[in-house]
Every structure is written in C-alpha cells, then in structure tokens.
C-alpha cells in the first residue's frame, strides 16, 4: 500500500522515450516503459495521494538509455522518493537501482510495427526501506510492441497508435511477491495527421501535440505478502520540440493499493541521438552507420 505509485510504475517508475517505425513516431510515454532501445535522457516527477499512514508519495526519476548496437541497448534508472506521513514528517530515500537490457527484434516500417524484448533487473538492497524499497531484487523478462494505424484505410483515425508491454517479475527472495505486469497506450498523433493524412490550418503549437492515455497494472502472482493489485490510468498530452518532449498526465488510480486520489506526473525527455547526433552520446557504441 505504501508504494502504490512506485509499484504501479514498475517500481522504477517511468521508462519512456520516443520510438519510430517508418513515418510513425511514437512519443515518449510516461507510465509505460519505452518499446525500443535509444540514446536518451529523461526526468520525471510524479505525485499521488495514498491511503493508510502514507498520505502522499512523490517520485523523482532520472533515466539514461544507451544503444550498444543499432538494435540493442541498455537503460539505467534511479528514483528518489518522498513519502509524506499522516500526522508525521516526510521520509526520503532512493528506490532500488534498476537496469534493463533491450533488443529490438522487429521493425516493420510498412506497417508501423515494432516488437522488442527486454530483461529488467532491479538490484535489491540499493534503496531505502523507509520509502518502501525492497531488500531483495527482482528480474523481469518483458515483451513490448508498438503499432501505428497509418497503414489502414481508416481516414482521420490513421494517426492513432497503440503501444503495450507485458512481463513477469520474479522476486529474488520472500517476502517480496512475484508480479505480473502490463500496460497499454492509446495515442493520436497530430504531427502524423498533419504530415500523412491532411494538413489542417492549425496553430503551430497544436501541430506538435499528441493526446495520449496510458494504463498500467501489476498483480501479485502466487503469494502476495500483503501486496495488492495496482492499476493506474494516465490521460494527458505530449508536446514534441526538436530533440525534446514534454508530457503531462493526470494519475488516476483504479485500486486502493495504487492510490486514493488524483495525482499528476510530468516528464521532460531529451533525444540524445538528435541533440548529439555526431558524438558517441548520440549513436550506438557499435554501428554500421
């Protein structure tokens, strides 16, 4: 219950960025992990009212992603948490360090479809138990997909896209439960509408906006050790600049274990492969390009 927000966000909170397939760009998601490896850095802040002795939890997350080859990348993520106590002070501390190895297995540009596989590893004992970090670690194999609908004959619905992932988190040791994880994203890209469907005379700022709604959940698998299922909706918008994106979403918990009121999250994302295209910061360590 204490860490509903953290658990709902996959413990390491958001892992997001843009991905592309053909003429389709999938904007940086906020609640779900990104689909494909990339060269990027992003920071995220989220706050959500909680039930029980913890009145509010806020997370501040920084994530760095680096491509090793064109299709393989790693991610390192760290979250700092503040837990406001009812009638008491605030506990501060780090969550466990998290890393993920991710491989882009399929990129079908004609059908705007991506498929990737990931192996996430949370290092136990690197966080503070006073803010809910587990003493033991966990390993999570995941599968990711992203599909743009631009290849379908559906007129003004072609800017729609869906993304999602599913995974099974295996805890290193009790009393931490194993977990089933998953999530879905539905987005409508106005840049895609303007460049691929019909160019409306919209204000400049609106041409860079993508309305987006995310949903993520976790469910204990087997013995729960008191952990409940979490489910979180995140309706919001993403604004794309040149090499950066800013997204803001409401956080709407769907279970008491997730939270007890509406929260908010914001994320600033930098595409290092755009901003530092000619340096090692912006390209794979080993590439044929």
């Amino acid at each position: 219950m204490l860490l509903g927000l953290t658990v709902a966000l996959g413990c390491t909170a958001p892992a997001m960025a843009y991905d592309a397939s053909g003429d389709r760009l999938f904007p940086a998601t906020v609640l779900l992990p990104q689909v494909a490896p990339g060269d990027e850095f992003y920071v995220n802040a989220a706050t959500l009212p909680q039930s029980g002795p913890a009145a509010r939890q806020s997370n501040f997350t920084a994530t760095y992603q680096k491509t090793i080859t064109d299709n393989l990348g790693i991610e390192i993520e760290e979250t700092w948490t503040a837990v406001g106590q009812s009638g008491a002070g605030t506990n501060y501390g780090w969550q466990n360090l998290d890393g993920e190895l991710k491989y882009l297995a399929l990129n079908n540009t004609d059908h705007e479809f991506l498929l990737a596989l990931g192996l996430d590893r949370e290092t136990g004992g690197t966080g503070a138990t006073r803010v809910g970090a587990f003493g033991s670690g966990a390993t999570t194999p995941r599968a990711y997909f992203a599909k743009g609908l631009g290849d379908l004959d559906i007129g003004y619905l072609r800017p729609l896209a869906v993304e999602g992932y599913g995974g099974m988190q295996f805890a290193d040791a009790a009393p931490r439960p194993d977990q089933t994880q998953g999530g879905l994203v539905l987005e409508y890209s106005i840049p895609y509408l303007e460049s691929k469907v019909h160019s409306f005379d919209l204000p400049d700022w609106l041409r860079n906006v993508t309305p987006i709604t995310e949903f993520t959940f976790t469910t204990p698998a087997g013995r729960s050790y008191g952990e409940g299922a979490t489910a979180l909706f995140g309706p919001g918008v993403s604004y794309a600049g040149e090499g950066w994106e800013l997204a803001v979403e409401a956080l709407v918990p769907a279970t008491r274990a997730t939270g007890t009121g509406i929260g908010v999250t914001a994320q600033l994302h930098f595409a290092l492969d755009f901003l530092f295209a000619d340096s090692m910061l912006g390209k794979p360590l080993f590439s044929t390009r």
Partner: protein, 207 residues
C-alpha cells in the same frame, strides 16, 4: 544494365550532338564519374556527357535507367546522381576563390547524393523538389524526389527540409531522415536504419 538497355542507351547517345554549345562563364563543375548514356540539356540541345565535360548553370542533367553520374562542382562539392534522375543546376555561384555563395538545384525526380564542401561564411545550398526544399550548410546527404513526395537522409551535418505547401520545416541531423508529401507538413524526422542508408549509397555510388 541489361544488354538491351546498353544498346538503347548507346543508340540514343549516337543520335545526340557530340559537342556542347559554347559555355559562357557559367561553368559550375565537371563530370568525374559516369555510367550509361547520361545527357545534359543546354540551350535546348541534349548532348551526351563524357568524362571531363563541364556542366554549367541552367543545365538540365539526365541520368537514364541503369546509369549513374558523378559531378565535381566548382566549390569542391560532389554530386552523385542515381539512375533515373533529372536535375537542373538552377544557380551555382562561387566567388573568385571558388568559395560557394549560392547554390540552388531543382530535382525533378530521382535520387541525388551531395557531399557539400564546407564554407566559412554564410552560403546557401538548396535542393528543391515539387513538394519541398532541403537546405544545408555543410553535410553529406541524400535527397530523393518521387511523384508527390520527397525524402532526405543525412550521413553527416544537418539538413532542413521544408514543405512547399505549408512552409513548415524539420531539422534532420546525422543518421536521421525525413519525408515530405505533397500539400502537407514534413513527417517528423527519425533515425534511419543502416539498410536504408545502404540502399541510397549503393544507388548513387559511381565507380
């Protein structure tokens, strides 16, 4: 090139004038690589090109199916034209020292690779198509024009691709590419796959 194509190309070249009309002082570059029966149209006359031939401002250069052409321009820029390309050298201005001032190419169709020579002062290098214009400072890049669309891929440096219809532009850095379709904004730039670059490199590689 198939043997029949070779014969047709040779036959077509044989029908063309063998010498170019005299050039005013508008020489923009010269032919340094050639495959197939490439031609230049100058003053209404189409002439078969050969190694060492000059090209000039206002020349329209055609590369036939199966052909390729490489030009070294007066400022040191290298242009490589793929099979089926038609491009007009609308403007090619350099100063007395050979430093580029203003370059405008009109790409009617086909694929062009430009390894643009660096300059120390502000200078324009633009390639326009029916649907958009790409502008660069110093870079190695590709532009391909097809009916209703144009796409740009950048190997080094950066290119700004703008829509002729909406005026909106995207910046394309190294290893990235973007497309613009008729009447619309440019598509958001993205990282190009190595296979995409290899495809345009092989089509413009002149031995």
């Amino acid at each position: 090139m198939r043997r029949r194509d070779v014969i047709l190309a040779a036959g077509a070249s044989a029908l063309l004038p063998t010498s170019l009309p005299a050039l005013a002082d508008t020489t923009a570059g010269s032919v340094v690589g050639l495959v197939g029966g490439c031609t230049v149209t100058r003053g209404g006359s189409a002439v078969a090109l050969k190694l060492g031939d000059p090209v000039a401002v206002s020349d329209a250069v055609d590369v036939p199916a199966g052909g390729k052409l490489k030009l070294r321009m007066s400022d040191g820029t290298i242009l490589s034209l793929a099979s089926g390309t038609h491009v007009t050298l609308a403007t090619y201005q350099s100063d007395a020292a050979g430093h580029r001032q203003n370059v405008q190419l009109a790409l009617g169709q086909g694929l062009l690779r430009a390894v643009v020579a660096p300059v120390e002062h502000p200078a324009m290098f633009e390639v326009s198509t029916a649907v958009g214009t790409a502008a660069v400072r110093s870079t190695d890049w590709f532009i391909e024009a097809k009916p209703g669309t144009a796409q740009v891929g950048v190997l080094s440096g950066s290119v700004e691709l703008s829509s002729a219809a909406t005026g909106r532009a995207v910046t394309i850095p190294a290893r990235w590419g973007a497309r613009v379709e008729a009447g619309r904004d440019p598509v958001e730039a993205r990282v190009w796959a190595p296979q995409e670059f290899q495809a345009v490199i092989s089509r413009t590689d002149v031995p």
